[in-house]
Symmetry: C2
Subunit: 261 residues, 2 copies
Amino acid sequence: MVQKNVTKERYEGMERKELNVIGIGPGKPEGMTLEAKAALDESSVIVGYPVYLSLLPAEYNTKEKIATGMTKEMERCRIALETADQGKTVSLVCSGDAGVYGMAGPVLSLADTFPEVNIRILPGVTAATAGAAVLGAPLMHDFAVISMSDRLTPFEKIRKRLLLAAEADFVMVLYNPESKGREGYLRKACDILSEVVPENRPAAYVRCIGREEEEAWTGTLSELREKQVDMFTTVFIGNSTTRCQNGRLITERGYQRKERL
Amino acid sequence: MVQKNVTKERYEGMERKELNVIGIGPGKPEGMTLEAKAALDESSVIVGYPVYLSLLPAEYNTKEKIATGMTKEMERCRIALETADQGKTVSLVCSGDAGVYGMAGPVLSLADTFPEVNIRILPGVTAATAGAAVLGAPLMHDFAVISMSDRLTPFEKIRKRLLLAAEADFVMVLYNPESKGREGYLRKACDILSEVVPENRPAAYVRCIGREEEEAWTGTLSELREKQVDMFTTVFIGNSTTRCQNGRLITERGYQRKERL
C-alpha cells in the first residue's frame, strides 16, 4: 500500500479530537523538537507519567494535566484517547521517543475503539542517540537497542538477543538496565556478553541525560559489571572498533582509518 | 572515568572557537530540537552537504554557508574545525542525528588537531524513529539499525549482521538501502533475510521523511524485494510480532496482548 504525504494529509486541518503522542526527548525541555513544542502549545490537555509532566517547562503549568502511575500504560493511553474523543486536543507525553518502547504502540492498538480521534505520533530524540552525543560518537556504525526489562519479555529472549548482537559485532545500547525489583540485571547482561565480547571492550553509561544531575561514565565491560545503575541510565557497549579517546567513545565508520589518510 | 554534568561543564560560557555538530532531523525544519535551533541562531558559519543546507529555514540565509561534496566528509569536518579554530562559532549540519553514521565520529577523530575548539554534539531525531512515527509503532521492541552501504564496510559483514539480527528477532531498520552504484542492494538484503524470515513478514519503507515528497509504503518482505528505493529511503522489517493494522505497522510490546485484557 502506497501513501503519499502521510504526514501532511493525516495532520493538516485537524483541530478537534486530536491526540498527539509526543516524545519530549530524554531530559531538558530544549531537547524537544519544534513540532513537539507547537503541538504542546496547541493542546488543552497534557497526559503523562508524573515525572515526565514535571520535566515540562513552566509555560505549560496553565494547561489541564492528567497524571497516571508508572505501570498503568494502557489506562493512560485510554484516558488520553477518551479525553481527545470528547473534542479536545490532547498531548500524551513520553520521555525520549514515543515510538521506542513508548506509548505509540499501545495508543495505536486502541485506535479502532476511537475511530474519530486523529492520532499523530511525533518523534523525539531517543536515549540511544542523546546518550551517544554525551559520550562522543559510539553509534557511527550498525547498532542494536535492547531493553533489559523482563516485565513483558522472557529473560531467555533477552539473553539470546545479547549473544546474537555481540556475535554480529553491533554496538549495543541497553535501555532499562536495572530498576527496583530488577537489581543485578546489568551484571547478568555483562556476564552473558562476556561469553562473546572481550572484557576490555569499551563500555559506558549515561544517567539522567540532559538533566541537572547528568552523569557519564566510560570504562570497560569488566568494569561495567561492577556498576550499580537504575532505570534512568542508558548503557553502551562498543563494537570491535570502538575506542576511548580523551574520555570520549568513538566507533570507527568501517574503513574510516583508510579514508583519513 | 566518571564525569558529572558533562553537558553543562563542556558547553557553558563558551562563546568562541565553538563547533556545534548538529543533527537537524530527517526532513522539515520543525523536526529539529529547540537546542539545535538555538545553536544555529548563535552560529556565524554553517557548514554542510548542499542538500542539508537547502533544508534549513530561510531565516539562516544571512549566515555564511560552506558547502562540500557528498563523499568529502573528512574535508568537511576539517573545514568546520579550521573555521571554528579561527575564532568563529560554527555549526556543522547533518540530516537526522549527527551521531548515527554521521559527522560526529569524523569530527571527534580530528579533535586532537584542534585542541582549542570546543566541540558540542547536538543529537537529533534519526530516520529510524522519524520513519517509525510515520508508519505507526514498529519500534516498540528491541531493534537493530543496519546500513546497507558497503562503501566503508565489507558486504560479508553486512550479510552476517542481517542474518544474526533476523535470528535474534530484532525489528530491523535499513539505512542507505540503495544508491547510484548500489542498485539491487535492497533485493540482496531481502534475499538474505528470506533465509530466516518468512516472506509474509510485514515490511515497510518511508522515503523523504517529513518532506513535501514524503512517501510511505507497507507490505510484506517478498513485496519489498520487488521495490526500487534510493538513498533517501529508510526500510523497516518487522519482528515476529509486528502486524499491519489499518495501514499502520505495530510491533507488540512483549506480553502486550496479555496486558490489554
